[in-house]
């Protein structure tokens, strides 16, 4: 299986979220939690210690009516590539419990190896990594409805969005059984993508020019995948984390909210 990958072209799975379409309904969050056996507490009001692999932020342009405008930003793990796989979290983990997969571009988390030092959380500027402060407790009978394809996590380890990696594995297995090497675009889709009622989330291979994600952002792979589409942007582009989650918006203030600029600095478009 490994040999076969060496001959095949590496994928770079990524996500494009159209913020002009996102209504902030939270379907993606629910689908994600359900799909990935994400534990929850009785009281989830404190967002600083509850686990949400995909979290929606509400932004406002800060202007008064009638010019007021809002935007919802769903934030999964950005699956940063950094500089040649040197993503902020992967390089700092002392026990190699998180890894950058060069065949898929997905940052993994090995729960059984993580010993809970939380250095990766300190490294992540997106707060996409979560610590299991408690052991997961499921309501009576709910354990029967957990996904058998995703291992539940124990207290004391870090977890995060995996781009539903188990779905990739299942799709790959099916393709192999049918004698294929390549996956079709619709064979591997994340739960949040499929759950979005507005069709705001698009998922696919950024290395494949036939995939919708590629067509939407036109990534400049020679420059860390920077988008060529003027309406596309990535969060904290200037830090050099090279995320694989892109956002689309026709609104300038939304695009500008994606990064930090010193006062009066003009945003440089990368195209």
């Amino acid at each position: 299986m490994k040999e076969e990958h060496k001959h095949g072209k590496a994928s770079k799975f990524g996500m494009v979220i159209d913020l002009d379409k996102c209504t902030g309904c939270g379907s993606c969050m629910v689908a994600c939690m359900s799909e990935n056996n994400v534990p929850f507490k009785k009281d989830e009001t404190n967002k600083l210690d509850s686990i949400t692999w995909l979290r929606i932020y509400k932004l406002t342009n800060g202007k008064k009516f009638p010019e007021t405008d809002i935007c919802y930003i769903p934030r999964p793990c950005m699956q940063c590539e950094g500089d040649h796989g040197h993503s902020p979290c992967v390089s700092v983990c002392p026990a190699t419990a998180t890894d950058y997969n060069h065949e898929t571009g997905i940052v993994s988390q090995i729960y059984t190896r993580c010993f809970g030092c939380r250095y990766c959380m300190a490294a992540c500027p997106y707060h996409a990594r979560y610590f299991n402060w408690w052991d997961p407790v499921w309501p009576d009978g709910m354990e029967k409805y957990l996904s058998p394809n995703v291992s539940p996590r124990m207290r004391g380890v870090v977890e995060k969005c995996s781009f539903c990696f188990h779905r990739y594995q299942l799709a790959k297995n099916k393709a192999y059984a049918q004698g294929r090497r390549e996956l079709k675009e619709d064979e591997y889709q994340t739960a949040c993508t499929q759950a979005c009622p507005a069709g705001a989330i698009t998922f696919g291979d950024l290395n494949n020019s036939h995939h919708a994600v590629y067509k939407l952002v036109k990534p400049d792979n020679k420059h860390g995948g920077r988008p060529r589409n003027p309406n596309a942007f990535r969060l904290l582009e200037r830090l050099g984390t090279n995320p694989k989650v892109y956002y689309l918006s026709s609104r300038e203030w939304v695009r500008r909210a994606g990064d930090n600029y010193i006062k009066d600095e003009v945003k440089k478009e990368h195209h």
């Binding site: 404190n46 600083l48 210690d49 932020y57 932004l59 930003i73 950094g82 902020p88 390089s91 700092v92 983990c93 002392p94 026990a95 190699t96 419990a97 190896r113 993580c114 010993f115 809970g116 030092c117 939380r118 250095y119 959380m121 300190a122 490294a123 992540c124 500027p125 997106y126 707060h127 990594r129 979560y130 610590f131 299991n132 402060w133 408690w134 052991d135 124990m154 207290r155 004391g156 380890v157 870090v158 969060l235 904290l236 200037r238 830090l239 050099g240 984390t241 909210a257 994606g258 990064d259 930090n260 600029y261 010193i262 006062k263 600095e265």
Partner: protein, 418 residues
Amino acid sequence: MDSALIPEGVKRCSFGKFILWIIIVGAVLLWGVVAMLLCWFKGLNQTNMNDAYGFAMWIWADLAVIALGGGAFFTGLLRYVIGKDELKNIINYAVLIGFICYSSALLILAIDIGQPLRGWFIFWHANVHSMLTEVAFCLSCYFAVLTIEYIPLILENRQIDKVPFFHNLSHNMHGIMVIFAATGAFLSFFHQGSLGGTPAVLYGRPFAFREGVLIWPWTFFLFTWSAAACGPCFTILVTWITEKITRKKLVRQNVIMLLAKIAGWMLATYTVAKIIDTWYWATVTAPASGFNFMDFYSNNPLYGPWILVLEIVVCGVIPSLILITKTGRKSSFLLISAVLLAVLGACVNRWVMVLQVMAVPVLTFESWFMYFPSWQEIATTILPVAYGIILIMISYRYLPIFPQEQELEEEKNASIFV
């Protein structure tokens, strides 16, 4: 009752008084142990840490005690490798303080990790690119070195020393101590540096991120430098506190003055380097990520420019000026104020590089994250202090920690009779 164990020619308080104090400090220790067990058995939900504050009070305490324990490696380097012979009169205490600091650091780390039983994974599945891996390896090795340096002291106890094997072992260990001192300095250089690199390699955190040379960010060198400067200051401070509590002179002033002078020059040069580092970071590194200097020091209830002034001017420039001048060192008040400020400076620096890093928002739509530790975190942080006090009490009572104590005592008595 225990007079046979007390070193010859020195006076100690009554056994009852000694035990009473052990019980008092032991109660504090017990409080910390309860909190530690709560964290181990119930998990880190006992703390006020959260997903924004994954690194908090313990990591600060860890970095601070390791910096302050730097007195052991630097004094050892000066005494055994560079040949500052006068320092033999304070090296025992420096080693003891270092031993306490490093054992405390390891204990804190054992409480801090979410899966303590998997702590060994850091060695087994080591990621050579991680600064923490280097810290874990060098810290453990250096703790072993400190244990080796502390053992001859234990063997010098009056009763243990009567056993020929232990007497000879202690003598021979002293003979090869230069090797351990050099090894300790080498290991310390790397783990102090790696601790400095730990926040500075976080390129997703513009407040912490620093550029550097090859794989080492500038803070790698700054942390080692500040530990070499502030560690000896902590040794001087603890010696002074011990002298005040025991109401006797334990180390001659010329020894203190020599160590203070060296520490002063280390601190002065460190402060200059720190100012340059801060200037470059504020004007080049941070703006490249889209941050103004004041973004890191405004719009929050705690962190303002005052913390930078406190760290660099009050706890850097001022103690440096005192310690590098003879007049400053000669005044007991100024000397102690200077070492106290230097120690505070190291603690503030580590605080900033851990807790302020976590507090600063990076995403434009997030705001500052503030945090206050739970009682379990406070108790487990005080636990090593209580443990250190008890170890110092026992070591001071039963081991010849201060070689000059007897002659200083005799001189004092002679002057009284004159």
